[in-house]
């Protein structure tokens, strides 16, 4: 019996107790490693997801900045266009198209309202006359002229008027 036992023991040597406990530790470590890997992977996904969102926001911001710059540029272009349209030569061109002419080119009528002095602000009527020129009419004289021309001096009506041809 003993010999059979020895033979069997030689044929199937018993494993030592040590390796058995090591196997158990490895499994735990593996679970731990896998768990950690999963955690890292999850964190990685989270990070990448956040980074992706942040990048998207950044691009949106960048795009908005670009749009703002574009709007600034268009704003300046519009201001320049406004300045161009308000340019004196442009205004003159438009006025010419409307049939307007330069003021000095034609006769004009100078008028004063009743009760006001003729053609003078805060000063008595002109006293100096060019050589050969007719005496400057005062308000009274002008009233006389107006009356002779048949213009009434009713309320709101023109007290005087004249046609000048420079």
């Amino acid at each position: 019996m003993a010999s059979r036992h020895l033979v069997a023991a030689r044929a199937y040597p018993r494993r030592e107790a040590g390796p058995r406990s090591v196997t158990r530790i490895d499994r735990h470590s593996l679970i731990l490693v896998i768990g950690l890997l999963a955690l890292v992977a999850f964190a990685g996904v989270l990070y990448l997801s956040q980074a992706s969102v942040a990048a998207q926001l950044r691009y949106r911001l960048y795009e908005s900045e670009w749009q703002a710059r574009d709007i600034w540029g268009r704003n300046f272009a519009l201001r320049q266009e406004i300045a161009d349209l308000e340019r004196l030569s442009a205004v003159e061109e438009r006025a010419a198209r409307l049939g307007m002419i330069d003021a000095p080119a034609g006769p004009y009528i100078a008028c004063t309202m009743p009760g006001t002095q003729f053609a003078r602000s805060g000063q008595p009527a002109a006293t100096q006359v060019q050589a050969g020129a007719e005496a400057a009419p005062t308000a009274g004289l002008w009233t006389l002229v107006a009356e002779r021309l048949g213009w009434s001096r009713g309320a709101g009506a023109l007290a005087s008027a004249m046609v000048q041809r420079p």
Binding site: L37, L57, R69, A103, V163, R165
Partner: protein, 566 residues
């Protein structure tokens, strides 16, 4: 290895594999989104300029007195290209050439250099053209924006305005004088690091420059420039200037100087001398217009009265020198008004001798000659007045100076002095900036600044009357229809180093209108007119044209009423 471990291994590996696969797919999806779906928008932004507009303190606007634009802030673009990215070089060249004002062949040649990573196509392209190029969305074309300046009226009042150069500095004129007010300050940020995920807050907010409102009226300026341009053409003059001023305040309404330049393309001048404001930085011998000063000094000192007479023998001898009238004639018994009406040099010499050197030069000083007017523009010079006590002054100089030769003044000095007579004898400081605005609010307002009394009000009134009487006799071409005008012509010889030029002169006219209630003082100066050498014939008609147009435009009531119509 235990049976239990061997049994679970494939499931765990599959889990890990799936996990990483999902991660990879997520990343690929995002990659596809940005690189494929959003490719075009990212491509566009990469072409766009990198200027951070929000952090820039923009330069202020310059307005005329009626708030019309004279200089506005703008964007200018530097345009470049990456030739390797452009496949259709000829097509791109054709599109860009009219917008860049560059020959198509030149652009095509630059785009053909495929080995170059970047080529500059044009610099300082105007805002509208830059926008048009951006709208083309051409791949491989890059625009870099930078702050610029646009002068909508072009060459109008160029020397007065100055210009804004590529180094973002105001040079000459108002742009230089008020550079510190016009210039804004850019915003600064907390740290100088690349912005990765967010914009850093400003530690100093950007501040735009102030707006400047000038006393200049662009319509008056245009009228003066048009009349001057016509005169230069008609009389074949080399140059000239016209200054229009309000004598009551010293506000300059127009300062026309020709030849000029276009501040939008300021680099395209033959010489930097074109930038100079010759109304304040160039001196000339005024000639007979200076007789206004001589007569004013004598009337103020009581040395002469308007009705005083003298015997004009055609010549006067002072300090060993003989002085003659412009036509070398003797006029006999003449009044003081006749001296102005006939522009008699001998008469002016007579007046200066009656007055004496001390009182004459004191008056010259009081009128502001030989010193700057302190106009708010850069580069003003003081002119040249030699006085008794100077090593190079001789007694004959008093006589010479009395009719405006042998001394040099600037146009702004001359017009300011005449304005003093028009203003009842009070000399005003000339100025061109009326107010400064920040965010639309007035932060500084110019106040008319009397400098001193040059002559008494009585003397000013007497002189005005003399000038009114003298003008039609001296030159009917200077008479303004419907208005009384006071003025004096001048025809000054030009000193050419060792003698006066025999042919070339400076023709001028200085006067004010309406004479009894002056609203405008106008100086016309024509340099070296070849077809007409006399101020009474060349400058006076120009003066009348400007005065007529400006009086009509400003609605100044006529003070000479003539019923001429039906």
């Amino acid at each position: 290895m235990s049976a239990e471990f061997q049994k679970t291994k494939p499931g765990r590996l599959a889990f890990v594999a799936i996990l990483f696969s999902v991660m990879a797919v997520l990343l690929l999806v995002r990659l596809f989104y940005w690189q494929v779906l959003r490719h075009s928008s990212i491509g566009e932004t990469s072409v766009a300029d990198e200027l951070d507009m929000a952090s820039i303190g923009w330069r202020g606007t310059v307005y005329d007195r009626n708030l019309h634009y004279l200089a506005v802030p703008s964007l200018v673009y530097d345009v470049g290209a990456t030739p390797a990215m452009i496949t259709d070089s000829l097509g791109v060249s054709g599109l860009l050439a009219p917008l860049l004002n560059v020959p198509e062949e030149g652009i095509a040649a630059k785009l053909a250099k495929k080995d170059r990573s970047y080529v500059v196509l044009a610099q300082g392209v105007a805002t509208l053209n830059g926008q048009a190029i951006k709208d083309l969305k051409l791949l491989g074309i890059k625009l870099d924006a930078r702050p610029g300046r646009y002068y909508p009226e072009g060459p109008m009042a160029a020397q007065l305005l100055g210009f804004y150069n590529s180094e973002q500095r105001g040079l000459y004129g108002v742009e230089q004088q008020y550079d510190s007010r016009l210039r804004g300050s850019n915003g600064t940020q907390r740290a100088n690091v690349p912005q990765v995920l967010f914009d850093l807050p400003f530690t100093q907010e950007p501040r735009n420059g102030a707006d400047v409102v000038l006393t200049i009226d662009r319509v008056v300026q245009r009228s003066a420039e048009r009349c001057l341009e016509q005169a230069l053409r008609e009389y074949e003059a080399e140059g000239g200037c016209i200054i229009v001023m309000d004598p009551r305040t010293g506000a300059v309404l127009a300062m026309a100087i020709l030849p000029g330049f276009d501040p939008n393309s300021y680099a395209q001048v033959e010489s930097p001398a074109a930038y100079l404001n010759r109304a304040i930085s160039e001196q000339f011998e005024p000639g007979s217009t200076f007789k206004i000063v001589t007569m004013a000094a004598a009337l103020d000192a009581g040395a002469v009265r308007p009705t005083d007479t003298y015997m004009d023998t055609g010549q006067a001898v002072v300090g060993g020198r003989v002085f003659q009238n412009w036509d070398r004639r003797a006029y006999g018994l003449m009044t003081m008004t006749d001296i102005l009406a006939r522009s008699l040099n001998v008469g002016a010499v007579h007046v200066s001798q009656e007055l004496g050197a001390t009182r004459f030069y004191e008056a010259v000083r009081r009128f502001g000659f030989g010193q700057t007017t302190d106009i708010d523009l850069p580069g003003e010079i003081a002119g040249t007045v030699r006085e008794p006590g100077s090593p190079n002054w001789w007694p004959a100089d008093l006589a010479t100076n009395s009719f405006g030769q042998g001394l040099a003044v600037t146009p702004i000095q001359m017009v300011t002095a005449v304005a003093a007579v028009a203003n009842g004898g009070v000399l005003m400081r000339p100025y061109v900036v009326d107010r400064i605005l920040e965010d639309g609010q007035v932060v500084w307002q110019a106040r008319p600044q009397p400098v001193r009394r040059a002559i008494s009000a009585g003397a000013a009134a007497e002189l005005t009357q003399m000038l009114i009487d003298a003008l039609p006799k001296e030159t009917p071409l200077g008479v303004v229809p419907l208005y009384t005008a006071a003025g004096k012509t001048g025809t000054a010889q030009i000193w050419i180093g060792d003698k006066y030029d025999d042919q070339l002169v400076i023709a001028s006219f200085a006067g004010y209108v309406p004479a009894q209630d002056p609203r405008l003082v106008i100086l016309v100066k024509l340099d070296k007119p070849k077809r007409e050498a006399w101020g009474s014939r060349a400058a006076a008609p120009v003066w009348r044209s400007v005065a007529s147009e400006v009086c009509a435009y400003m609605g100044i009531p006529p003070d000479l009423a003539q019923v001429t119509g039906q």
